[in-house]
Symmetry: C2
Subunit: 322 residues, 2 copies
C-alpha cells in the first residue's frame, strides 16, 4: 500500500501531543516548545544511512528504535532530560507497513524516556533517517567532554564490543551460533541509551561521552577537549561472556575500536570511587573503572601485566573506514 506524504505523516507519526514542553506539535511550520525556567536546552542531531549505520536487513521497528536511541545517547552523555525530538525521513517509497513498524519501534523507545515527537519532514529519496533531539539541564550543569581532570578515574558502563562482534559476523569474518548471534545482533540494532545513568552522573562525573565511533576515538575526544591524557588497562574494558570467548585480537578489536555500543565513558574523581560503584548498583548498571587520567597528552594502553603496548588500532571514520 502506498500513501501520500501527508497521509503517511498522519497515519504513522501524528499522535496526540501530551501537555508539557510541546505547546504546538506536528502540523505547523514550526513546533513551539516551552523551556523550563532556569534550564538550558541541549540539542544533538544524528543521521543514519543504509550501509553505514544499519544494514539493509534490519527490521524497520529496530531501525526506528536505533534512530532515536543514538540521539538519546547524546543527551545521556550530557546528563540531559529528554524533552522533544524531530524526525526527517527520506524513503524510497511510502510503504505503510514499513512505516508502521518503524514508528512502533521509534515510539516505544520515545515513550520509555518521555520524549515527544514534535515535528519532522518526510520525502522520497534514498533511505535516510535524521533525528534531532532536545533535552534540558539546569543551567551550567551539562556534562561536557572538557571536564576531565588529572587523577580522575575513567569508567565505562555496561560492556563494549558486542555491536562490532555482530558486524564481524555479518561481514563473514567470524561465525557464531544462532542464539549468540541474536544476542550481539540485538546489541548492534537495539542499543539502550544510558539516560538514567547520564542524569545521575551530573552529580558525580567530571566529563562524559557516549561510545558511538569506538572507545579509543571517543575517549580521545574527551582527552583532547580536556587537555589531558589517559592510561587504560585494555584488558579491564568490560565485555560480554560471548566476546570474552573470542581470541585476544578479536576482543581488543571489538572493545577498543568497535562503534555502536552507546555505552557511556566518563571520568570521576578517584575519591568518589565508592559512590560510582554504589550508583551502578542502585541503577542496575555495570560500571567498570578502566584506567586514569594523566597529565601527559595521549592515550596509553597497558596489558594484563601492566606493560604499555601499541594496539595498532584506529577508531571509526565515516569517510575513511572500510
Amino acid at each position: 500500500m502506498s500513501l501520500g506524504e501527508f497521509e503517511l505523516i498522519h497515519r504513522c507519526f501524528q499522535r496526540a501531543t501530551p501537555k508539557g514542553v510541546v505547546a504546538v506539535g506536528i502540523g505547523d511550520d514550526c513546533a513551539v516548545l516551552q523551556p523550563t525556567p532556569g534550564c538550558q536546552w541541549l540539542v544533538s542531531t544524528d543521521m543514519l544511512v543504509e550501509g553505514r549505520h544499519f544494514l539493509s536487513t534490519v527490521e524497520p521497528d529496530r531501525l526506528g528504535h536505533k534512530a532515536l536511541a543514538v540521539n538519546l545517547s547524546d543527551l545521556a552523555a550530557c546528563g540531559a532530560t529528554p524533552k522533544a525530538f524531530f524526525l526527517a525521513l527520506a524513503l524510497p517509497r511510502a510503504d505503510a507497513a514499513w512505516c508502521d513498524a518503524f514508528a512502533q519501534g521509534l515510539f516505544a523507545l520515545a515513550d520509555a524516556h518521555g520524549i515527544v515527537l514534535a515535528g519532522g519532514d518526510t520525502t522520497a529519496g534514498p533511505l535516510n533517517v535524521s533525528v534531532t533531539v532536545m533535552g534540558e539541564v539546569p543551567t551550567g550543569q551539562a556534562l561536557l567532554r572538557s571536564g576531565a581532570r588529572v587523577g580522575d578515574e575513567v569508567w565505562v558502563s555496561g560492556s563494549l564490543g558486542d555491536a562490532r562482534l555482530a558486524l564481524e559476523v555479518f561481514r563473514g569474518r567470524l561465525a557464531l551460533p544462532g542464539e549468540a548471534f541474536a544476542q550481539v545482533r540485538r546489541a548492534m540494532e537495539c542499543p539502550q541509551p544510558r539516560v538514567a545513568l547520564g542524569l545521575a552522573l551530573r552529580r558525580l562525573a567530571t566529563s562524559a561521552i557516549d561510545v558511538s565511533d569506538g572507545f579509543l576515538g571517543d575517549l580521545g575526544h574527551v582527552l583532547k577537549s580536556s587537555n589531558v591524557g589517559a592510561t587504560i588497562r585494555a584488558d579491564a574494558l568490560p565485555r560480554s561472556a560471548l566476546l570474552a570467548a573470542q581470541s585476544t585480537g578479536v576482543q581488543r578489536l571489538c572493545t577498543l575500536t568497535g562503534g555502536d555500543d552507546y555505552e557511556l565513558v566518563f571520568t570521576a574523581p578517584s575519591q568518589d570511587h565508592a559512590a560510582v560503584v554504589a550508583l551502578g548498583q542502585s541503577l542496575g548498571v555495570r560500571l567498570t573503572a578502566v584506567g586514569q587520567i594523566d597529565p601527559e597528552p595521549g592515550l596509553r594502553l597497558t596489558d594484563a601485566q601492566g606493560r604499555l603496548f601499541d594496539s595498532g588500532l584506529q577508531s571509526f571514520d565515516h569517510f575513511k573506514s572500510p
Copy 2:
C-alpha cells in the same frame, strides 16, 4: 582532495561561536543553548534530497544557501527570530572543494540572519542535506496556521511561480532566453526567506505559512487548521514580468501549484489593509491582497471577471507528484 570526517567538520564547518544563545557549540555530544527568559523556542526541520529538492546541476554554494533558506522560511512563517541551526549532511565523498563552497553559501545566509551553526553530523551516503533550525518568540506570540478568521484578507509576499517556471525549463517543457532563465533559476536555487516580514507580521497577521509545496496546498493547510474557507482571485496572485509573459495556463500552473517560492501567505483583518500596505513599503517587500477568508470550507478560485472556476490543479506531494 578527500578528507576524513573530523577534518572535514573542522575545515568547513567549525567557526568561532559568537557569544549569545550558544553556550557550547560544535564539538561536544550536544550543543548547549541558553533560552531567552519569557520566550518560547520554535523548531523546524527540512530534508533536501537530490532530484527532489534540487537538481544534480546545482552549484554547491547555492545548495548551502537553499538548505538553510527553506528552514529560515519556516521560522519566518511563525514570526520567529532565528537563533541556532544544526546540519546533518550525507555526502557521497568528502570533497573539500565542494564542502568549502557549500559552507560559503550556508554561512553567508546564516550571517545575514544572525543564526549560528551549533552542531551537526556528517556521514558518507547518497547526497542528503537535513537542517534543523531554532528560533524564539515571546511566549504566546508565534504566528500559527490556525488563526485565520472569517473576513480576513489573504495576502502574498513577493511573487509566486518563478521557481516552478525554472523547473519547467529544466524539464524541457518551456524555453527561456539566457538572462530570463538565469533569473528564474536564481528564484529556484536561491530563495530569500522572509524573516524580517515574519517578525513584523507578529503584530498584524492572524495566520501565516510559507509557500513550499504550492499556493493551493499551503493555503489549504491554513484553511483546514483554521476551520475556514477562502475565495482567491487567481489572476491577482503576484507574478514576475517574466511569468506574466507566459500563457494563462502556464501562469496559473506556476502561481497556483508551483512550490519552492518561499514567499509568505498570511491573513490579516481587512481593517488593517492600510497597515499591511505600509509595512510592505517600509520593508521594501511587495505585498498583494489576493482574496478573503469565508465561513464556507474549501478554497474557491475566481477569474478576472469574478467568476468561479475549477483550476483542475493539485499541489505538490513528495510521494505522488511526478
